[in-house]
Amino acid sequence: MAKRSFLIPGVDKRLLIKDSIKTMPDVSRRRFIAGGASLGALTLLTGCDVIDSSSAEEMLKSVSKFNDAVQDFIFNPDALAPTFPESAITKPFPFNAYYDLDDAPEVDGADWKLEVRGLVDNKKSWTLPELYKLPQVTQITRHICVEGWSAIGSWTGTPMRDFLKLIGADTRAKYVWFQCADKDGYNSPLDMRTALHPQTQMTFKYAGEILPRAYGFPMKIRVPTKLGFKNPKYVVSMEVTNDYKGGYWEDQGYNSFSGS
């Protein structure tokens, strides 16, 4: 997951005000527009307003959708993310979020239940002890952040595809949508083909220990074929659905597929 970016000084104020007025109600859209407005750099270079921020925004959104399709097309469900020896693990593995570690959710494992919704046969909620009883596997893979940095970690948990089978999920559905306990509400959609990838994991342990709070206790979704922000932590519910329900970062402009 990445740090949240705010409007930063240096943005052309006239453009910003103009754009802000028409888009005031929607925070995410406002932040996106700030990007368009600071195209000042390009405007200065060319000496004219070649790039109108709202038409540029539309163009970029369409290309991002096109890139989703391209990535879905080249996604090979059998291609495995490279795995590493234990000696390659990054220590300490970085904590990264749009809030400080002090503000990370404190989930009470005794109260917590994983809620299951949508196109599944068995909608029963799962307690932590129930989930811990499922067969688990360990993977040592590289986590790649949308910011560019990467780190190698060891994650242990239940393959998502086994769990989806167990609950009788309709695997022809398009997405598994996760909701999390992060402040401001974190959520993220995962395309079904990626959810069924052999390395996509419901993670309960980091480096052989119960998942610490910093890394998403009680459960994170480890997806080594996606960028880090598509690996939700502090998961509280999952929904199997055909609807694209958006996501915390996806709604702000990060490419939705963001596959590796």
């Binding site: 970016s5 600071s38 970029l60 890139n67 080249i74 402009g253 590796s260």
Partner: protein, 209 residues
């Protein structure tokens, strides 16, 4: 209006030789735009997690924040890749690369670099590239290929795992991508400077002659 009569004089006054054919000019300027978009958005992405102890000034970045920079980068990449691929294919197919960029000999390069530094390098015939030009143009084509391949590898380190392996691993590909960018920026400075010193070369890249 009187009708035009063709005289012997007019026939013999053949138009100036085409220095840069239309396809070169079109692809050159598309590439220039794509490169600038890629560099400015790339700086935005770099700033999210700098590899070294510096960041690029915000005024010279594109997109406003990381998400915007990424959108620009992954949009302009199509322009860069499709145009670049068309350029490579046409350059090889028409024999232009062979005719204009080869041979490159060490003695020729040394000679012309020395001449350039003492401002004695002639530019009478723009259709023939001197050795400084040959080295720079051939070199920047290679860097262009390298930056696209390392970028593709970083974009798809699992699907294109073999590509990342070619560079070592993901973090190494990231450094190579950065250094290619630095090389392109250095090339840009020299390239623009030299074009301004020999304005008729710039004219040739605009109107062809």
């Amino acid at each position: 209006m009187s009708s035009l009569t063709v005289t012997d004089e007019q026939v013999s006054a053949t138009p100036a030789k085409v220095i840069q054919p239309a396809w070169v000019r079109v692809m050159h300027w598309i590439n220039a735009l794509a490169m600038i978009l890629m560099i400015l958005s790339g700086w935005q992405i770099y700033n999210a997690s700098p590899l070294f102890g510096f960041s690029f000034p915000r005024e010279y970045t594109l997109g406003g924040w990381l998400g915007g920079g990424l959108l620009w980068h992954f949009a302009a990449m199509w322009l860069l890749m499709i145009n670049g691929l068309a350029y490579l294919i046409t350059g090889f197919a028409t024999g232009r690369f062979r005719k204009k960029l080869l041979p490159i000999t060490p003695s020729g390069v040394l000679h012309d670099v020395r001449a350039a530094l003492t401002f004695k390098l002639g530019h009478a015939d723009l259709t023939v590239y001197n050795y400084v030009q040959r080295v720079l143009y051939a070199g920047i084509i290679l860097v262009g290929v390298l930056i696209v391949l390392s970028g593709l590898g970083m974009w798809k380190p699992v699907q294109l795992h073999w590509l990342v392996s070619l560079f070592g691993d993901y973090p190494t590909a990231r450094y190579i991508h950065f250094f290619c960018m630095a090389a392109i920026c250095a090339f840009l400075v020299i390239h623009v400077l030299l074009a301004l010193l020999v304005p008729k070369s710039l004219r040739a890249m605009i109107i062809g002659r």
